[in-house]
Symmetry: C2
Subunit: 364 residues, 2 copies
């Protein structure tokens, strides 16, 4: 039987002071750590509670509060994407528990915006940055290297970037894709559309052209395409460039591309959609083409949402652990801020395959 | 015939310099205004382009760049709500055009988090703040008044707060609700559920108790409830407290509440859902109760999304002008930063009623 912790002799924690004062833990940490803004009224309440409980800040906490602003910066590609909203929440929940606030900038997938955003975070003296970067080429990463040179720890989330020796927190996109496409193949599908692939000026006509384009694209896009190709290879199915959308990544373009795939003589009978907008665009095309799912076309989407669960029939989805991705990125960054050396590894979390009712046996 | 502007004599604009340099307008503005961070390589390109085009900063722009950080702060209740994501985009797009960056904090509808967030923005020396506040009572607004006392302009978005003499940018929630509920009444519905109302510890049994609770709730929640009651009154329909959800505002609770309304002897035949999660929770209850829409139950939701359009049948929705709300809030704030006095008015934009196929004539 484990001995119970004797609370009467253990020193009170910040959380206990916060509870006594009736304020949030972050506010208590801010007051007791002597950093950041706290209103006079709140400060008074926290200090009274601390006195009452006999709270004494420990030396480590005190030393940590010197020279740091207790703010993390987060740069995401698109705050409107529910995936990034979930990751943002994971980061801010975790960092708040540790007394850090998180400020967010959104770049709309534009590298110039991202460069400016890094500049803003440097100006704002954040203690570290978490970035879902739009960078791909070697020439794209100077702004991130600049932050690193200034001694600001940086962790990547969602997207690894080849030319940066940084910790990154991602899921195994390739394996998640392979599994989803394999699930379609197991249901008898042979003509499987991939929405969306790397954006290209002209549609790829060969597998070689497509994989070359993927190598010049966002890491996540490339990995998801590789998983699709893996599943085809595993099953000995031929690659057909007509079944991979390569145009601009918009919902409207997904509708156009899928409508074309549904009009082929040897049409697609299943679709694997790697983004939220790719999925809604595909659903629109299925309906507009006079088909219904899963009877005529099976569907799997990426990034589960409450909508996917209430569709009729409900959609089979790959669910990313958004909160965990955010929490792990924050944890990794905070340990570097506290002095740990970057491990420069890819932290890979597992995606969940949520089977519902949008996949059926091939009927034609 | 209008005379064409003679471009050969007009001085070049920042946008033209940006285009010549092949950089974003914000980066060009930052370089030419001499504020904020720009990478050495980018600065060089912008200055070369400026020299080539003969750009000269105008005096107003120069004076404006003195003493301001060219950063706006935005505090939203929940970055994961697509509505706030849209508003955020509207704000950052508009402010970026004017050379301002936007940093965002999310409060999870928690007033303590909001107070801390205002403190962070003060620490970060933003030039102004836009807040979707969780404040309701007079005692809740000291943190916002504190920012105002420090001379930091504040504009409210989405939610007016009674105890603050500030500009706010909102939609006419009451009228949007009235119109939606009236649409249901015109289709013969008499038993119309309202998901969700103000959260209460115990369900309201009288209209008076409900409106009193609404007066102590978020402004938007109260306005939407008032619009519902207006429509009932206009049609001479009786109020029934059993048809208003008043529990915690969660998707799960919406499912529970709607399931109960569908099990009444005199059950609801229509539902008006005022939030995204209220709608998905309601859809789940309709299906789990063995009903389908619109045959058994008509539905109208708030905050249109691409999902609502691809549901089968597609959903009739109230669409808020999210980007315009954000842009107007940014415009109002920037004019105050530039010295205009706050007009202390409620800027009311119009919501759009998007009729699709989730409302049918009452069949029972």
């Amino acid at each position: 039987m484990a001995a119970e912790r004797d609370r009467s002799v253990a020193p009170p924690t910040i959380s206990e002071v916060a509870a006594e004062a009736g304020v949030g833990r972050a506010s208590a940490a801010r007051t007791l750590g002597g950093y950041g803004y706290v209103s006079p009224e709140l400060r008074e309440r926290v200090l009274s509670a601390a006195e009452k409980l006999g709270y004494r800040a420990n030396a480590l906490a005190r030393s940590m509060s010197t020279g740091v602003s207790h703010t993390l910066g987060l740069i995401v590609a698109d705050i409107g994407n529910p995936f990034f909203a979930g990751v943002t929440r994971g980061i801010s929940d975790f960092s708040r528990q540790r007394g850090f606030d998180t400020i967010v900038l959104s770049t709309h997938e534009d590298l110039e915006e991202e460069k400016a955003a890094v500049g803003v975070l440097i100006d704002k003296r954040v203690d570290g940055m978490i970035i879902a970067s739009a960078a791909v080429e070697r020439d794209d990463v100077a702004h991130i290297q600049d932050a690193m040179t200034r001694g600001i720890p940086v962790v990547l989330v969602d997207r690894a970037v080849e030319h940066l020796a940084l910790d990154s927190v991602v899921i195994d996109n390739r394996e998640a894709s392979r599994r989803a496409v394999n699930h379609l193949i197991e249901h008898g599908h042979r003509r499987i559309g991939f929405i969306w692939g790397p954006p290209m000026k002209k549609p790829a006509t060969t597998r070689r052209a497509l994989t070359a384009a993927a190598a010049r694209s966002l890491w996540t896009d490339g990995e998801r395409l590789r998983g699709y190709l893996d599943a085809l290879d595993d099953a000995g199915l031929p690659f057909d460039a007509d079944l991979v959308m390569t145009g601009p990544k918009t919902e409207q373009n997904a509708t156009v591309a899928v409508s074309r795939m549904l009009a082929l003589d040897d049409r697609v009978t299943a679709l694997f959609c790697t983004e939220n907008d790719a999925l809604t665009g595909s659903l629109r095309a299925v309906r507009e083409s006079g088909f219904s799912y899963p009877a005529d076309v099976s569907l799997i989407g990426f990034d589960d949402s409450s909508w996917a669960a209430v569709m009729e029939p409900p959609l089979t989805m790959i669910a990313q652990p958004m909160l965990d991705l955010g929490a792990r990125a924050a944890e990794t960054l905070l340990s570097e801020i506290e002095g740990a050396s970057p491990s420069r590894t890819m932290h890979t979390l597992e995606a969940r395959f949520v089977e519902r009712a949008s996949v059926a046996k091939r009927s034609r």
